[in-house]
Every structure is written in structure tokens, then in C-alpha cells.
Symmetry: C2
Subunit: 494 residues, 2 copies
């Protein structure tokens, strides 16, 4: 997860590496800021001091600033230097209700929280008496259509790991017509077939699914994530790269879908011939870290159909898109699939990780999908409050509504700066716009910080917006002022 | 992590699979219990009912019983059927101070906890202002000798994943003499060398390092963990298998060490010739899940020396052994190494995951060791209380003292039942004994449960003891009564 402000420290051994998005951005190089305000030192002196102290005992190369979380509130984050930013990045898209939400304070003070915190169970074997009730009031209440159950996990990466493991087990069970044989069990201890099969997972160029060695093998967003780490030899297909606005590029974009789907089908066939069957396909509804690349409903319908045809598990990674910012609990709701995904993974704004599964993917054998903690009861108490607030305050609608306004503002910006800005796009507040270069993008983001606006970056030269669900029209008004000024200054100085 | 009681449900599709330790144990088959007490139904009817409800919305095959955590206290766990067990398993060795410890209740009620819970940061970029102070009062205060820094993570598996990734990056940096080149960065996006190297990790037969696909590739404890999951082709060496008592088998055990070290050296050489260099070696001080296999200080000194000689990262996995139950914060303290391990991983009783590193393994480049959460501030508040209690109440000494008594009791048991019990062994309370068969072991463990004693199993036919650090002589007295009776009954009925 990259944020340009963090990338001020983004030097590798002091030298800038080409081919990386890890460029060096310096606050002082930002050309102009609002005339009335003095240039801020970013990061400020207190952060710089704390970072040096931290560096002695804990790795700190990506630390951007130290935060005073007690002073942060709602959509505003306050750093230790007293800078207060309108936060449209929200801890890499992971805080659903901003800072110090009153309903979450209440949930944290609930007497039930004490036992949940200090008696942490091995959930797979010794769940607390009210575990099923907690699930019903949270994850089951908002489960994607057609998916029966949920398996909690600790984070997005291990949710993806376990969904894919489930797919492998399901695929082999289908192939055998039953549970593992004695030969399977003996051979897997030597990592030989048939117990250790040569199966593969199909993923996409630009994808980000996590940073364990397994998940890095299906991740293709940035070289700095992958370099020096051995990987599974799993196939990668192209993901559509649309031209915007969509309504003016219908034919081009349709061709993108067709070509990508054809490639997926070809890879499936090639791997089958090669006896390295594709057992699962994993895909993000919007490639976030990789650059906010969207796919059309038709593209995803096509993937679902191919997976059904070839008996492949269709896994949708909603770690970043799930949780409401697209205007819906699940981004894949908008695809109108005839048959739901086989598994849907989540984390971030859900506070817990996990994955939903279709009944056929339920593991009835113990200790196959298992680890010590497998999630955490305290997260469910907080998540219950989050779900209640989102419903009570109608925040999915709000994200859709203010998101439209944000997108129409981004449209107007690219109209205003056709040489510098393009491809304004989004679903709800989950929005992005491309800059003509990484350097321009970094300038804009840095100028925005000077104007007290905190935004994120992704891909090669995109700005991404990930406000909390409590982001309102009045905050957008503030963001527009800060951003318009930041762009004007950056373009002027170019 | 397997516990025989859980394994009552350990059937695969209704049929028992040979070659698995997943045997079927039924409470009703336990032959005899204390004459004065009626046979308990395990699990009880309330657990059975709750399990059926849970199964509809969340995978539940390994659920043993639902717990009333509010009613559980100290060393005693209370299930929803009102059964109260002396708990010598402690959530798979992961609760340091038992249930509802008064100091942890206080820590959970601390006002600082509220912000820590509800404003969860992306720690790698936006740490809270007091993060370094929290580290000093917890993980740095008890860091292993010679290791300068710590990187927090979410769980044991991701700690191992990231320590190994760090080793790969370190190894390649050494080889190149600097950071990744443009060619490295370009090629890794296609998963080709040199950016994606064919490096390997050396691990041991019987090891358990986690369940992601990367960590399953270095795990060799049980087939049910590994079957149907593709794996990296990484080498495995034998781990010593000692005869006990140690003082009567000195020559045999020494030969074990020598043979294993020779094999390690041969594998390193073979892989080097094959251009699939071993970049890291990962090892548990005591192979826990795999059967509580110990290595001698000389064996580990030999591994350390081999790693130094061949320029390989020496990673010690203290996920289960770390935290005090061996009588020391770190099991590897007893090895008296001339040079410390390069990295030490931990989780479980530390409440957070993470790994310590030598200065040379510190990552100065941003986003290479990184993820959204990277640990959690709320865990550090609880850990601070844990560390304070362990020091104040002298609990490391206590674990050593009561551990010796436990081991001498286990010695006496194997003297009493030479045909049935063997290899009593341990460090502190981290103890185990082997049974002559899995069936006998399962009977003993089940009889113990009938006698209100909750113990764990590991390996093929071992019983493992993992009490909390608050386990005292009076609890041992109770455990002895329950266990002696359980063994007598099991042996009698054999």
C-alpha cells in the first residue's frame, strides 16, 4: 500500500531506483500553496524526532507521520506536529467510520469487551458461547447474496490464503470423488503428487492480494513488493484497461473485455494440457493498489461463466472494495451475476478478516482450514456497532450520493486539465483519477497535504480517494477547495 | 494444532482415515472414571446444540466445546454445559496468565484502550504517538540477547513469512552488494530471475511453522495440514530424535546430533550446486505440534555455526516456546550461543505476533516488509500488563520450579508404566510424555477430561502440557490426581 507522502522516505539506500514508483517527493519542492498559509514541513519536526527513536528498535522506513489518535476526530486526522488533515485515505481504506466515532467508543466500553480482549480463544476449537449470535448480528447479516457461511480470519492476506487453500481442497475432492486417500496423505508429507498437487491459481496483471509468499505469487501491482522473493509459477492474465468516459469508448472497452476473457480461457486450456490445472481464479472488483482499474459487469459475468464451465473456483477479493464505500456492502453486487461467486474475501473496514463461501466450499473435515486464533471476538463487538451505524445513518446511500458528486468533480477537473488529468472513475466514494506523470501526481498530493488534505496514490500515476463512510458533502466542499488549489499550483509549476 | 478432545469430531466424511492422527475418540469408550463421579457427556448437550447452529453459518468441524469465558477463571475453564476443567492446554498454549486475570481486566479498562481499539492504524505508516514507548515497555524490554529491533505482525504464521522474506532480501542484497537493480525490478514482475530468485528455506521433519502456502512448505508435522495444497520445493532435514532419560543415552543422542548436522551441511551444499541456494534455516527450539521433540544446545550451536559458515539466515521460531513457560522468556536462551540467532519469531503468549532481528537484517527500504495493519496497539497495552505481572510475580521462576516437579512426576509415571509411557521430557512446564499408541494416548486424555483435567496432544502419540504461567504446585497436585487415575483406568482397560 503506497501513499505518496510516505514516499518522501521512499529512497532505497539513498538512491532513487528507476522502474519503481518509489520516487522522492519533498514538501519543500511543492511550488506554491495557498498564499495565506506558510509552507508546512512534512513530516514535521516532532514526527522526525519520534521516527529516529522508533528506528532504533522497530523498522520505520515507511513511517509518514506519528498520529495523535486521541485528538483525531471524524474525518480529520491530527499528527504529533499539530497538523490537522481532512483524511480521504483513512488508514489505507481501513477505518469505516473515521476517528473516535461515539458509537465505537460506546462499544469499546461495553463490559463484554473486557472478556473478549483478555480471554482470547482458539476460535476453531473453543469459541465463546455467543459466537454464533455475534456472527448473525454482523457478518451474516450483511453476507453477499447466495453465500451461506463465513469463516473469520485475522487479515486480508490470510483470508485470501485460506480461500485459495479451500479451492485446492475442493478441486481435489471433486477430482477424487471423496476425501484424501492414504496415498495422498503419505505423499504430501514428502511434497510429492498426488498428495501435493501441481495446481495453480489464475490472477491478473495489476492485482494485489497480499504479501505472504503465496499471495505475492498472485500479486502484480508493484515490483518493490515482489523483488527477491521466490514465487509459485502461477499464471497471470491481462485485466481490462478501459478508456474513459465509458460512454464514449464503448467499442474499445468491449474489445478489452473480450480479449481478456479469451486469454483467461486460453490459459485455463494450456494449463490443463500441461497437467497444472487452474483450480481457482482470484480477482478484485476494482484493482486498488494496482491503480484503481475497474472491470465491467460483463467482464465479471464472463469470468463467472468460464469458472463454471471449467469447474474452477471463482474467488472475489473484496478486501479493499467491501464495506460500503462503493455505495453497496459489496462491490460485486453491481455485476448482477446469475450465480454468485464461490468465495468472497474481506478485511480492512470489517475490522476482522475472513471469507464467505458457497455451501459446496464448506470444509467438513477438521484442521484443514485452521489456525490458533482464526479471528477475534473483540473485533465482532466493534463490527456490530459499525454495521448498526451504517444502517441507522444510511451510510451506504450517503457513500453513493457524495461519491457521485466527487466523481462529477473529478470529471470537471479532467475537463479543465485535459493534458494533465484523465480517466476520472469511481464507484461511490471509491474514486480515482490519473495524472500525466508520477511527478505531477506526487506534486499534487503534496500540495494537497500543504492544504490540509490527506489523499492516497496507487498504480503508476493515479490519485486514489478512500474517505470513510461518514464523509459528507461539506467535507467534499473542503476537499475540492484544497485539491483544486493543489492542482493549479502543481500544473503551473510544471 | 490438534487436541484429542477436539478429535472426537475428527472424522473425515464419516470414515476414519488411516495415516492420520485424526482418530475417533469417544467419551463413552473411556473405560473407567473415578468411581464417585458419573460419566460426563463430552462434549455436553449445550455445546452440541450450539455447534449445530454455528455449523449453519461458520465452519465448525474442529469445535470441541463452547466456553463461558466470563465464568472461566485463572487456571480453570468452564464450558457451556457447566463443566469446569483445570486447563493445562490454555488455548493451544496462547494465554499467558489464564482466564480473567485481574491485572488484565484493569488493562482492558484503561482509557487508553478505547482509542487503541477504535482508531486502528496502518502501523507501518501512521503509528500512534506513543508506539515506541509501548515497544520499550514490552517487546524491547524482554528482547532476546543480541537482537536489536522488533517488527510487530499479526500472528505467528505471518511473523514466520516475513522473517523468511527478510532473509531472502538480505541474501540477495549480500549477493548483489546493494539494493535491487532495474533488471531485478523488471524481471520480478514476470516472476523470472534475477528478480524472482530460486532460493530456498531449510526446515526439519516434524516442524510446524504455520499454514499459509509458504509456511506449509516448511511444515512437516501432520498430513492433514498439507494434503491437497501445492508447495514450494524446499528441502527438509531430519531433526534429532533423542532417547530418554538423556543422561542414560548420551552416545546415542550425540550421534543423532552429528547425523542431523551432517545432513544439513550436505543439503546446503547440494542446493548450492543446484543453484537453488538455501538462504534461510528455520527451526523450533522444541518441535511442538510435531510431537515435542527437543534439540540439544550442541545441536543448535552446530546449526548456528553452519549458518554463519555458509552465510545463511538462522531463524528461530519461538511462536510456541517463547513467553516464559520454559522457565525463561526465550527457549533458545538455554543454548548459550556465541552469536545470537539472526531472527526470532513469536506470537501466542505475546498476544501480538512479530519477529526480532539483528541489525544486519533491518529493512531500510520502505514497503518491502509491510502490510496494512502490521500488528495492533491494543495488544501492546495488554502485553505491558502481562510483562509486568510476570516480573512482579516472578512467574518465570515459578514455571521453572513447578515445571521440574511436573517433569519428575512424568518420570515417575514412566517408571510405573514402562510398557505404556516413555520419553518424559520438558523445559519448565513445557512438557510431554509419549504413549505406546495413539489409542492409549487418546484414552488417557479423554479419561483426564472425565476427571476435569484438560490437556493437549501432539505428534503421533504424545501428550503435551501447556499450562499458563500462573500454574502453581496446588494445581499440579490436582492434575496429578486426575492424570494418575486417568492412566490407571486407561491401562487397565487396554
Amino acid at each position: 500500500m503506497t501513499h505518496v507522502l510516505m514516499r518522501v522516505q521512499g529512497r532505497l539506500g539513498g538512491s532513487c531506483l528507476r522502474g519503481l514508483s518509489t520516487t522522492s517527493v519533498c514538501a519543500k519542492s511543492a511550488s506554491q500553496t495557498k498564499a495565506s498559509e506558510p509552507q508546512k514541513e512534512i513530516p514535521g519536526p516532532v514526527t522526525q524526532k519520534l521516527k529516529k527513536e522508533m528506528d532504533k528498535v522497530h523498522q520505520a522506513p515507511a513511517v509518514r507521520f506519528f498520529i495523535d489518535y486521541e485528538k483525531s476526530k471524524g474525518n480529520y486526522i491530527v499528527d504529533v506536529d499539530g497538523n490537522k488533515y481532512l483524511d480521504m485515505f483513512m488508514q489505507i481504506s481501513s477505518l469505516p467510520l473515521g476517528y473516535n466515532h461515539p458509537d465505537l467508543i460506546k462499544a469499546a466500553q461495553d463490559p463484554k469487551m473486557i472478556s473478549a480482549l483478555i480471554n482470547r480463544p482458539a476460535l476453531g476449537s473453543f469459541p465463546p458461547k455467543d459466537w454464533t449470535e455475534r456472527l448473525h448480528k454482523t457478518l451474516i447479516d450483511i453476507r453477499p447474496k447466495g453465500l451461506s457461511g463465513v469463516q473469520t480470519m485475522m487479515c486480508g492476506t490470510c483470508s485470501n490464503e485460506n480461500a485459495i487453500k479451500t479451492a485446492f481442497m475442493w478441486y481435489q475432492r471433486k477430482k477424487r470423488g471423496g476425501p484424501p486417500s492414504e496415498e495422498d496423505l503419505m505423499s504430501c508429507m514428502k511434497q510429492l503428487p498426488p498428495g501435493t498437487p501441481s495446481l495453480s491459481v489464475l490472477a491478473f496483471q495489476g492485482a494485489f492480494h497480499g504479501r505472504t509468499m503465496g499471495m505475492l505469487s498472485v500479486t502484480r501491482s508493484k515490483a518493490i513488493h515482489k523483488v527477491d522473493v521466490p514465487a509459485f509459477d502461477w499464471p497471470i492474465a491481462n485485466f481490462p484497461r478501459y478508456k474513459y468516459p465509458l460512454n464514449k469508448n464503448v467499442d474499445y472497452n468491449k474489445k478489452q473485455d473480450t480479449a481478456c476473457l479469451q486469454e483467461v480461457e486460453k490459459i485455463i486450456g494450456d494449463r490443463k494440457k500441461d497437467k497444472r490445472d487452474v483450480a481457482a481464479l482470484i480477482v478484485e472488483p476494482i484493482q486498488a493498489e494496482g491503480g484503481d482499474h475497474h472491470g465491467s459487469p460483463e467482464f465479471f459475468q464472463g469470468l463467472r461463466d468460464l469458472c463454471t464451465t471449467y469447474g474452477i473456483a471463482f474467488i472475489v477479493d473484496e478486501v479493499q472494495t467491501g464495506g460500503g464505500s462503493t455505495g453497496s456492502w459489496w462491490a460485486h453486487d453491481s455485476w448482477k451475476l446469475k450465480s454468485p461467486p464461490d468465495m468472497v474475501t474481506f478485511a480492512k473496514k470489517f475490522l476482522t478478516g475472513g471469507y464467505y463461501y458457497k455451501e459446496d466450499f464448506k470444509m467438513n473435515e477438521p484442521y484443514r482450514i485452521y489456525n490458533t486464533w482464526m479471528g477475534e471476538p473483540s473485533k465482532m463487538l466493534l463490527l456490530e456497532a459499525v454495521v448498526n451505524v451504517i444502517k441507522r445513518d444510511n451510510l451506504l446511500n450517503q457513500a453513493g450520493k457524495v461519491g457521485k458528486e466527487l466523481q462529477s468533480y473529478l470529471d470537471s477537473l479532467q475537463g479543465q486539465y485535459p493534458k494533465h488529468l484523465s480517466n476520472a472513475r469511481g464507484a461511490g466514494t471509491f474514486s480515482a483519477i490519473d495524472c500525466s506523470s508520477a511527478a505531477l501526481r506526487d506534486k499534487i498530493v503534496n500540495n494537497a497535504a500543504q492544504n490540509d488534505l490527506h489523499i492516497g496514490v496507487c498504480g503508476d500515476s493515479s490519485i486514489r480517494f478512500r474517505p470513510a463512510l461518514i464523509f459528507e458533502e461539506k467535507h467534499l466542499k473542503e476537499a475540492k477547495e484544497a485539491l483544486s488549489d493543489a492542482i493549479a499550483s502543481a500544473v503551473q509549476s510544471k
